[in-house]
Symmetry: D2
Subunit: 116 residues, 4 copies
């Protein structure tokens, strides 16, 4: 329940309706807004080493958390406006990836992975 996307979807619908923003929220515009938020998320990590990125200082962790929240909001809103089930889509992709990258074949192979 606490991690339900249904309640997020509903809150975003109300938020947009109260502000008359549905006309801005076309799938095209939402996809574009999502790239902006993804870029802000990436910017938090760009000069960190990989090790530093795994042990974030509190201030940066909070910014990362909020940028990730922004990405999720646009993603949920896009799925709602385009009419598909976001979590089902993600499960579909895990199924596909499981076939593309059989555990027995790619295990421990950085090369295989980095060529992906």
């Amino acid at each position: 329940m606490a991690d339900s996307l249904a309640s997020l979807t509903e809150r975003l619908r109300q938020f947009a309706a109260e502000r008359d923003w549905d006309r801005f929220h076309t799938p095209k515009n939402l996809a574009m807004a999502l790239t902006g938020e993804a870029g802000e998320l990436a910017a938090e990590f760009q000069w960190l080493t990989e090790a530093e990125s795994g042990a974030l200082e509190p201030d940066r962790l909070e910014r990362v958390r909020q940028e990730a929240g922004d990405v999720l909001l646009y993603l949920v809103r896009l799925a709602d406006r385009a009419g598909f089930d976001l979590v089902a889509a993600a499960h579909t992709k895990i199924d596909l990836n499981a076939r593309r990258y059989p555990a027995g074949q790619v295990r421990g192979s950085a090369r295989k992975y980095t060529e992906y």
Copy 2:
């Protein structure tokens, strides 16, 4: 239940563990991979009009669905590796946005919105 991120998180943990991919999945790398998927999602819309983006043909809708799924997977994985609750982060942002954009003040104002 059907839209639970907890089950996605768990599947992705197993997926990475079976392939020994945790060492690639630093928050920095996951944020970078997310921008790649966000870019692929945007690419599906780049030459469409806004109206066309609101009535996608079946083939494109399926590609959009899968690209959105990819974005969600990296986002869920990033939140798991960085140690925060993704859906709670999104709710935090809605709360913040509700204060930044009071419905009574921005309603019907494209200008206010486009300046955001």
Copy 3:
């Protein structure tokens, strides 16, 4: 001369050297920083109609100009650090695209284009 990338490349080398920033400027980090700036550029357009985007107000045009400048800076720096000629790379891509999209076949065909 005024549009030379060689002078930009040289200024950026000096800029990084004076600040001891070369160690941050790995190709990986520069590519990541570039996605951040590309996202900021996209954010300027996300709620505009296509028509509005073709007739930008002075304030927004100046922001677009500066964001585009940021993208170019990271792109020039990346090419310098990875060791390739950026403008030659762009000409290579035009040559490839000319073969992929023969003018006689795709002219006036939105469908062809939007499927790209």
Copy 4:
């Protein structure tokens, strides 16, 4: 001469005119297409270490070169359609950054930089 953006701009104008693609090339659409190419560029680096990204294998270097070329093409085309001088914009940003990050103050300070 070899690195002139003026000749790229001119080639892209002809390329679009011959295909009747100007109507797709609004600044909004070009900015969106640019984020897609930036994402593809980032994807080449996402699982590499920073050290690996500094010594790319020939196949990957060629892909990086071509993706960077794509980013430049959309950037040049966007500047042309929006009506500004791209290289001048980049020089403007270096001037601004020189004031924001005085060499004497930030030299050798990773902290200062990573907080940027």
